[in-house]
């Protein structure tokens, strides 16, 4: 993905990532954690959110609105490259904590689709099945895999 992103850090196991969002609300620490959620097929859950000052814990209850949604999404997408480089090319499950947050993710994917679709297969869950991502459809959850 040849898009602007933030620099990001990983722990030694490459399953935890942190970076800072910079925008009108200031410098906001973000965290990404990949966790195994299914063995056959192997699927990892992606948890993403802010790390509020003084907590050192990921929490997505905060709506930071730092005017950099796409750049944050590109950064999170880049962590998938690092993660799968180390854990294998498996599906990554992602959904928002609320339907509104899931919709926000969808808008971000749509906005960056020309670039995202080069590197990733994205499936959305709707009407009881997983389907190829379409920008005009609201999904309940997403599965992402590198091509």
């Amino acid at each position: 993905m040849n898009l602007e992103r933030y620099p990001y850090l990983a722990n030694n196991n490459f399953n935890n990532y942190e970076f800072y969002s910079d925008g009108p609300k200031g410098r906001i620490k973000k965290g990404v954690r990949f966790s195994l959620m299914n063995n056959e097929p192997i699927i990892y859950n992606l948890a993403f959110g802010d790390i509020p000052d003084g907590t050192d814990m990921i929490d997505d209850a905060v709506v930071s609105n730092n005017n950099d949604r796409d750049m944050v999404l590109v950064t999170v997408a880049n962590t998938i490259f690092d993660f799968t480089n180390n854990y294998g090319n498996h599906y990554i499950f992602a959904t928002g904590s609320t339907p509104a947050r899931t919709r926000l993710y969808q808008m971000g994917i749509t906005s960056l689709w020309n670039e995202i679709s080069i590197d990733f297969v994205v499936l959305g869950f709707k009407n009881s099945s997983w389907q190829a991502f379409q920008s005009n459809v609201n999904y309940e959850a997403f599965l992402v895999k590198r091509k």
Partner: protein
Amino acid sequence: MPAVKKATVNEKGYYGNAIVSDKVKDHGNDPFVVKKLEEAKAFLRKNGLNGLPDLKK
């Protein structure tokens, strides 16, 4: 922290440029992460993988 304009391809031929740091803690036991994982597992138990291509890959 300055923005990085473009991702580059690493020595493995893949994108991804994480800087390894021992300052990054393991968030696996963060309540939000644990909750999200349990919700994700429940979603999969309830809805399954119908429609998913190349299941065995």
